[in-house]
């Protein structure tokens, strides 16, 4: 990797072209990027547009420009501002899907383990662990104030005495706090096969190698049981 006088890495233009070509070869590209009237109706309906300097119209215009430089500028922060709500696709008079092409670019960032993807996925590592290793998404012990500040002022209380609170729930809840429900080893093995086939483990390896190792240890244990 080359660096400029400020120590910022210089990304070769050939690499930027490769990223663009990868997006363009995606089977969804033709459907998501058609023509563009530059009308801004997608942006007018886009929720994050009201909070950030972010515009799905710009995303589509950049794609239409076929300029690898312009597309590269979006890979770092821009594409991560989208909520994936697809309002843009619902109202674009050209039937473009700016949200769709953003998903394609994000997938490239994740597959290639770009820093931006690592940063965005970091807070989700516990979710990824539970999901890929046990087939559960959230378990009671994950409810901690640091991780869910958006759950409001009572999150601190919600996180205490988990075992007692679980017992108070009148439905069968396994009475455990580290899982939401029990998953049979056969089901877990099947899940792992699916994740293998779909390349999920590969993606995790690219964005979070240490998490990948922890998950693989569990996977090996279950598979050999």
């Amino acid at each position: 990797m080359e660096y400029d006088e400020n120590g910022v890495s210089i990304v070769p233009s050939g690499f930027k072209r490769e990223i663009f070509e990868e997006a363009r070869k995606d089977f969804r590209y033709e459907e998501y990027v058609r023509g563009c009237l530059n009308c801004g109706v997608c942006t007018g309906g886009c929720p994050p547009h009201r909070f950030f300097d972010f515009s799905p119209r710009i995303v589509l215009q950049n794609m239409k420009s076929k300029d690898p430089e312009l597309i590269w500028t979006m890979m770092d922060e821009y594409i991560w501002a989208c909520f994936q709500c697809f309002t843009c696709a619902m109202i674009c008079p050209f039937l473009n899907s700016p949200g769709g092409i953003i998903a394609v670019l994000r997938e490239i960032a994740v597959r290639r383990g770009f820093e931006s993807a690592k940063k965005v996925l970091k807070p989700y590592s516990r979710v990824l662990l539970k999901l890929t290793a046990y087939g559960n998404q959230l378990s009671p012990d994950m409810i901690q104030p640091d991780f869910f500040p958006d759950w409001g002022p009572h999150i601190g209380y919600a996180a205490t005495d988990l075992a007692a609170k679980r017992k108070a729930i009148p439905m069968p809840t396994l009475q455990v706090t580290n899982l939401s429900w029990d998953v049979a080893p056969e089901a877990m093995k099947e899940l792992y096969d699916i994740f293998d086939e779909a390349g999920v483990f590969k993606i995790i390896e690219a964005v979070d190698p240490s998490l990948y190792e922890i998950i693989q240890d569990i996977v090996d244990d279950v598979r050999s049981s």
Partner: protein, 347 residues
């Protein structure tokens, strides 16, 4: 013996065709669906016409007068062609009206069934019919024709008004990919009329492209230069209710401000033109072609825009696509000439 020619539709195109044919001594039968003639300009009481703001009466009133006084035009009001058959090179048509049904043989036929205004309620994001103060250009044309310029919700003069262009046009979701050609000019014209009436009212036009083609551009420049109409590039994504009985337009100013939400006293939607239900109906009744936009299809759009694909049946006006009155009148004359030639040849 004089020729017999059938004209279907009594708008500017059909009326001019009828008048010209009658001047040639032809017996004209004019079938009009409505109880009056004059087409959309009459129905929506257009008062002043672009490009030169002349009173609509100069044009429409004049055509109606000539039609009604031209001795050999028989007008059937509230009527329709209920049955239609080819008869050699001629045509047998049954005309159904309040007075009963009549079948006649015609030497040729002119179809001038015009257009329908796009119904903005079909595009939910504009909240037409939800808010009283969201109207469209045909509503405003009619209101101004009745000398009524005020807000429908409370009868007060508006402090600010937004025009939204391309409603029902250039939109794949709606199914109309084409440009309706006249709505930019109508909006600019109406913006000027509003400013002349309420000089203190702020008028905005939200556009994707301003298509005041040819000499209509004069009105666009005049709107900016003389009336300070604000022209903003960006399509409106949503209309919601706002404070103090306003309606809020939400969108992106793609050149200057970025995101905006502006409350307006009144919003005018520039609804486009559609072929309406009459185009497919007349197409199947007469056996002539419909195009992919829902209008009638000319035999050759450039060489013979006034001919249908069927010999002896001619087309005129907005039934073949969005156009201004002058073009409709020109086509009425062209169709008249061709229908007459066909009739004389097959005498």
């Amino acid at each position: 013996m004089a020729e017999n020619i059938l004209v279907v539709g009594g708008g500017p195109a059909g009326l001019n065709a009828a008048v010209m044919l009658s001047e040639l001594g032809v017996n004209v039968t004019l079938v009009e669906r409505d109880s009056f003639i004059g087409g959309n300009p009459k129905k929506f009481k257009y008062k002043f016409l672009f490009p030169d703001m002349q009173p609509a009466d100069n044009v429409i009133g004049e055509l109606i007068k000539k039609t009604e006084s031209g001795g050999n035009i028989k007008v059937y009001y509230s009527s329709e062609v209920s049955d239609f058959k080819e008869n050699g090179k001629k045509f047998d048509a049954t005309i159904k009206s309040a007075g009963g049904s009549e079948t006649k043989t015609f030497d040729s036929v002119i179809v001038a069934t015009g257009f329908e205004h796009f119904d903005p309620a079909r595009d939910a994001k504009y909240s037409y019919q939800l808010f009283d103060d969201v109207i469209d250009i045909k509503d405003l044309e009619r209101m101004m024709g009745e000398n009524n310029f005020v807000r429908p919700s409370n009868g007060q003069p508006p402090k600010n008004v937004a025009f939204i262009l391309c409603v029902g046009s250039r939109d794949r979701h709606i199914g109309n990919q084409y440009c309706s050609r006249v709505c930019c000019t109508i909006s600019v014209k109406q913006a000027i009329e509003l400013k002349e009436h309420f000089p203190d009212c702020e008028v905005y036009i939200f556009y994707m492209d301003i298509r005041t083609y040819g000499f209509f551009e004069d009105l666009y420049w005049q709107a900016m230069e003389e009336h300070d109409v604000q022209i903003v590039k960006g399509r409106i994504a949503e209309i919601t209710s706002g404070p103090n009985n306003t309606v809020v337009c939400k969108g992106e100013d793609t050149l200057l401000r970025g995101p905006f939400e502006i409350p307006f006293d009144m919003v005018v939607l520039a609804s486009g033109m559609e072929g309406g239900p009459q185009s497919p109906e007349i197409s199947s009744k007469l056996g002539i072609e419909l195009d992919e936009h829902g209008f009638l299809k000319p035999e050759n759009i450039t060489l013979s825009p006034f001919k249908s694909n069927k010999a002896g049946i001619f087309l005129a006006g907005a039934c073949t696509g969005p156009k201004a009155i002058s073009d409709s009148i020109t086509e009425g004359a062209a169709a008249a000439m061709n229908a007459y030639t066909y009739a004389v040849k097959n005498r």
